[in-house]
């Protein structure tokens, strides 16, 4: 536990450098209007190093997509970033003007959206859509763009002859690969993936994840990976954070977090997935109660030390090197 968290990543992956590519600090996003506001993300801080895969886990509505959209500056009113800072390679993302943003998006941070495979334009061929990236961002000639598009498709294991295909002629898994290829087209420094495989079935999901792993090793970008599937995340990520009610409740190296979850919410989230081995035991899952201002909505499962939780989830506290948990009392269990 005294090892720095970065070093505990699985051995076959390159060890990420310590200089963060993305530095999110005390980020607070509110959805306002009509005189009341809902906090989508509150006091969220994390960093992603070069070549690092960082995961954000949590159930729907926990704020993980809000954070991703904030990093891309995609939030539209009524959502508003009310506090905190986002630094990308030392530059202040929140201070960028529209022209800077246009250059920044896709070239430096690209994103694969949830149900991205439905985001392809149905009346344009795959080749036209990929080619668009090069003609728009790199002012490439059509012919050259076409060649590059073919190379990209090959990169994600699709026959370049498919450039002429329309999206409906491809399977869901192939469309998802096309979208991933488009995201890495300009060799971004950071790739954000918001539930990239949720709509796909297990076999295709596994193939896509392996593909992303290969691409990441090959191109060396960092990844902000968002999913509710903790097992999937642990397999892929170096470090991960668990979000609940707009706040990070735990932050640690993925393997450590999986082996020993410290926050009761993390434990409950992990307990929501039936295991593939061992005896069949009844699982309880998560409480179906919403979070209110009087409590985090999670009291039923909480152990002893929640003296301070009733009004808010406590701030992250470092309990061991690289291990942060939002608990008031006690240490590591």
């Amino acid at each position: 536990m005294t090892v720095p968290s970065h070093r505990t990543a699985s051995p076959h992956r390159p060890v990420p450098s310590r200089e963060p590519v993305l530095d999110v600090r005390n980020l607070r996003v509110e959805y306002g209007g009509d005189g009341r506001s809902v906090v989508g993300a509150d006091n969220v801080s994390f960093t992603i190093g070069a070549g690092e895969i960082f995961g954000l886990a949590g159930e729907s509505g926990c704020g993980k997509s809000t954070v991703a959209n904030a990093v891309m500056r995609l939030l539209k009113p009524p959502a508003q970033i009310t506090a905190g800072s986002i630094l990308f390679d030392g530059r202040d993302v929140l201070a960028m003007d529209p022209r800077e943003l246009r250059a920044f998006r896709w070239r430096e941070i690209a994103m694969v959206f949830q149900s991205a495979m439905n985001s392809l334009n149905p009346v344009l061929t795959i080749g036209e859509q990929i080619g668009d990236i090069f003609t728009t961002h790199e002012r490439m000639r059509k012919r050259r763009a076409r060649a590059r598009s073919g190379e990209l498709l090959e990169l994600v294991g699709i026959d370049p002859a498919r450039l002429k295909a329309y999206p409906h002629q491809l399977s869901g898994g192939m469309r998802q690969r096309v979208v991933i290829a488009m995201a890495v087209a300009l060799k971004p420094t950071l790739l954000i993936m918001d539930e990239p495989t949720t709509a796909l079935d297990v076999v295709v999901q596994q193939e896509i994840m392996a593909q992303i792993g290969d691409l990441q090793r090959e191109l060396g970008f960092s990844v902000l990976f968002i999913t509710h599937d903790i097992s999937l995340m642990v397999e892929l990520s170096h470090r991960m954070g668990v979000m609940y009610g707009g706040r990070l409740v735990e932050l640690a190296a993925a393997k450590e977090l999986f082996a020993q979850p410290l926050h009761p919410y993390t434990q409950a989230l992990m307990n929501a997935f039936p295991p593939l081995t061992g005896p069949r035991v009844e699982l309880t899952g998560l409480a179906d109660t919403p979070r209110t201002e009087h409590g985090c909505g999670f009291h039923a499962h909480c152990p002893d030390d929640r003296s301070d939780c009733s009004t808010n989830i406590p701030d992250l506290r470092e309990v061991a090197a690289g291990r942060f948990v939002a608990r008031t009392g006690g240490g590591a269990r």
Partner: protein
């Protein structure tokens, strides 16, 4: 968890040789796509049977055939021994419909947004000629783990998990003996999936309802189902006790499916070479890594029992597990495929 008595009783619903062809192309086209090929399944009383497979394997087609939403091309569906496809040719009788109910994947699409929850339940009761008083409604809504005040709610006021519970309550209104659940959790958030799975277990344990649980999530099938059947390209390839099947998967396709489930505790990790081999094996029988003679392309595999030595018996359709002696093989081929003993 399992009552041994049920093993001796005839199954509630038996499917024999069920085949479904879809016409491809235009009105006069002769192209056919075989979505289901000679499927044999038994659904015993008070048990949950899981049907797993990838998208396009025919899982939903089977459920829709059983719900009589599709007309099978051939085969038998025996409910309490009565072949309903023969006796009720022109569509299911009301009695059949009240015995077999279906819950769909998308709770956002299956509830009419202009009606209150109460309406769905009352209507289901009335259509089937049952008393639809306050007491009945209250009992239904509490059975699925919702509160009485939700009877007054509109679907948009409910979460996905709550809506799916309403859809289940509606299915339960007619007091069915079999519920066909087509991916009931795949559109739901993780936090409520377990709740729906636990509800299914409770319906089985407390109400003796049988369920056909269709999913591509093998871990949840293992958690909730007594037996699991693996469907690949319209054919059942392996089946039996869920725990036995998933601890000792025999068929390459089952192994492929299981290897795709994310599991951080798996020690060997993802092996692309092995996966590619498995994938090739299930797509082109000639290249099966287990059987270099390519027997599958020449003869149809039949059901063999495997795992008896380990105390985890289940059946598999794969030549690799064929008995060694030609006599035994002939006997097995001749006999009607014996559906697994539960």
């Amino acid at each position: 968890m399992m009552a041994p008595a049920a093993a001796t009783r005839a199954p509630l619903l038996s499917v024999r040789g069920l085949t479904k062809d879809f016409r491809m192309g235009g009105l006069f086209s002769r192209d056919r796509h075989r979505a289901l090929n000679a499927v044999d399944v038994d659904i015993p009383h008070g048990r949950i049977v899981a049907l797993v497979g990838e998208s396009g394997s025919g899982k939903s087609t089977l459920a829709r055939c059983l719900a009589r939403l599709e007309q099978p091309s051939s085969g038998q569906v025996l409910l309490d021994g009565e072949d309903v496809l023969r006796t009720q040719k022109r569509g299911a009788s009301r009695a059949y419909r009240s015995t077999v109910q279906m819950v769909f994947q998308d709770p956002f699409g299956s509830l009419n947004p202009v009606h209150r929850v109460e309406h769905f339940l009352r209507r289901a009761l009335l259509v089937h000629g049952r008393p639809a008083g306050e007491d009945e409604l209250r009992e239904l809504i509490t059975t699925v783990g919702l509160t009485e005040d939700m009877l007054e709610s509109y679907p948009h006021e409910l979460s996905g998990g709550q809506r799916q519970r309403v859809a289940i309550a509606r299915a339960l209104a007619v007091d069915p003996r079999l519920v066909l659940a087509d991916e009931p959790t795949s559109m739901l958030d993780v936090s409520v999936r377990i709740g729906i799975l636990n509800l299914m277990r409770r319906l089985r344990d407390e109400h003796g309802i049988s369920l056909l649980y269709i999913t591509h999530d093998l871990a949840s099938a293992r958690y909730v189902a007594d037996t699991t059947q693996v469907l690949f390209a319209g054919e059942l390839v392996e089946g039996g006790d869920s725990l036995a099947l998933m601890d000792r998967p025999a068929h390459p396709y089952t192994q492929l499916l299981l290897s795709a489930v994310p599991d951080p505790e798996r020690t060997e990790g993802y092996d692309p070479v092995l996966r590619a081999g498995l994938r090739a094996a299930v797509l082109t029988p000639e290249s099966c890594p287990y059987e270099d003679e390519g027997t599958c392309s020449r003869t149809e595999p039949v059901r063999h029992t495997v795992g008896e030595d380990d105390g985890q018996p289940h059946w598999v359709r794969c030549h690799l597990y064929a008995p060694a002696t030609p006599t035994a093989r002939r006997v097995l081929t001749a006999a009607t495929p014996e559906v697994e003993n539960v």
